[in-house]
Symmetry: C2
Subunit: 225 residues, 2 copies
Amino acid sequence: MIEVAQLSKTYRLGNQEVYALREVSFNISKGELVSIMGPSGSGKSTLMNLLGCLDLPSGGSYHLANIDVQSLKANELAEVRNKQIGFVFQNFNLLPRATALENVELPLLYGRIPQSRIKALDSLDKVGLRDRAKHRPNELSGGERQRVAIARAIVNNPSIILADEPTGNLDSKTGVEILNSFKQLNAEGATIILVTHDPSVSDQCPRTLFMMDGCLSKDERKPVS
Amino acid sequence: MIEVAQLSKTYRLGNQEVYALREVSFNISKGELVSIMGPSGSGKSTLMNLLGCLDLPSGGSYHLANIDVQSLKANELAEVRNKQIGFVFQNFNLLPRATALENVELPLLYGRIPQSRIKALDSLDKVGLRDRAKHRPNELSGGERQRVAIARAIVNNPSIILADEPTGNLDSKTGVEILNSFKQLNAEGATIILVTHDPSVSDQCPRTLFMMDGCLSKDERKPVS
Ligand SMILES: Nc1ncnc2c1ncn2[C@@H]1O[C@H](COP(=O)(O)OP(=O)(O)OP(=O)(O)O)[C@@H](O)[C@H]1O
Ligand SMILES: Nc1ncnc2c1ncn2[C@@H]1O[C@H](COP(=O)(O)OP(=O)(O)OP(=O)(O)O)[C@@H](O)[C@H]1O
Ligand SMILES: [Mg+2]
Ligand SMILES: [Mg+2]
């Protein structure tokens, strides 16, 4: 499903180079639930942006469902992002002038999916925010914004969910509820990759990729209770 | 030092009222290290904004160092915020077009403090980001932005530090380093209030205020190893 080979990303800043990702290689099969951990600045979000087709690598290759992502045109990449991938951003990326409901509805409108309003309300309901539907992002708490971002990522039932620290702003009880939603979606067939700093989230994933200084330092599979 | 009596905050949204904070009362003495915990949406950031003089309550009173905050004019409130309080925002609130160094330097420039550039570099060094000084926020990882926000809050040695989920985007090792910086500042006399969802952070604070639905549900003091 996801095949990454020698994937690299270098940022240039003035005359300085930042090697954010260095020749990372791994495969993820359809239906896996994988966590990614590592120190702040180790390249996790950079990797997620490449996996989510939001950015292109400086080197190496990325095949998604056997398609070489670097061979796609811009509109084809947009189609993949809209139809196949649900992305929860570390900083949420909500539209500031739209309500929670409008933010969640957006991927459905892009994809011309019918009954978008009902589906969006349903998704908000799943993250416990039905009564916040009319609030704009600046009228929501940090954890509520995070949950709107999650609701938006799962609303069109994507086959791949990429969530960058989805429980960072949530208390443990709400975090557990969100993790259970992800496990439910995984049980229904979605391939899920979660970046997390929380060992209790990572412990519930059968596989964990550890990042260090832009490299993959360890690929650990473990039994999960 | 901090005296809060029947403090309330109600947001109005169209014809709906949101009781974000409901008659909260507590006192915090100079030099205390206090954590605030509670479910997402329970009013923690709302309370922090009032304590930080960033917003005014709908009811009740807030005395800071014996001054009734509601009696202050706008420029006096700005003076208190700049000279006495260091605030770490849950969503960082960094200036997007300024570098990390310029962001950290800003409170010193406002306060006309000399040697601002050296002090700002020193503060960035304390959070492990000396080599990210020239990066702008969108050229930093989530945890690096959080640390720039922390560096900015502590750069002018404030007597009160209000940190809203300061380790939410940090791996455990970096989070421990940041918490140790706060404990060091507390040992040097700063009064520190941390909102956190992380029990391991809260366990290191001798006192924890628990919020629930806008109310203070418990005020717990405990011995700390
Ligand atoms: N400007 C606003 N208008 C209307 N409602 C608001 C506004 N700001 C916050 N709220 C609501 O007030 C409640 C408390 O918000 P607050 O940000 O204090 O929560 P919190 O405890 O910090 O949550 P979190 O842990 O998710 O950050 C939330 O339910 C939120 O939806
Ligand atoms: N646009 C950019 N220009 C230059 N450097 C960048 C840029 N974006 C990220 N970086 C750097 O690349 C490194 C990796 O960033 P990345 O966001 O992938 O880290 P991360 O593992 O997600 O960290 P965190 O846990 O703090 O979110 C960081 O050190 C960061 O400073
Ligand atoms: Mg990140
Ligand atoms: Mg908050």
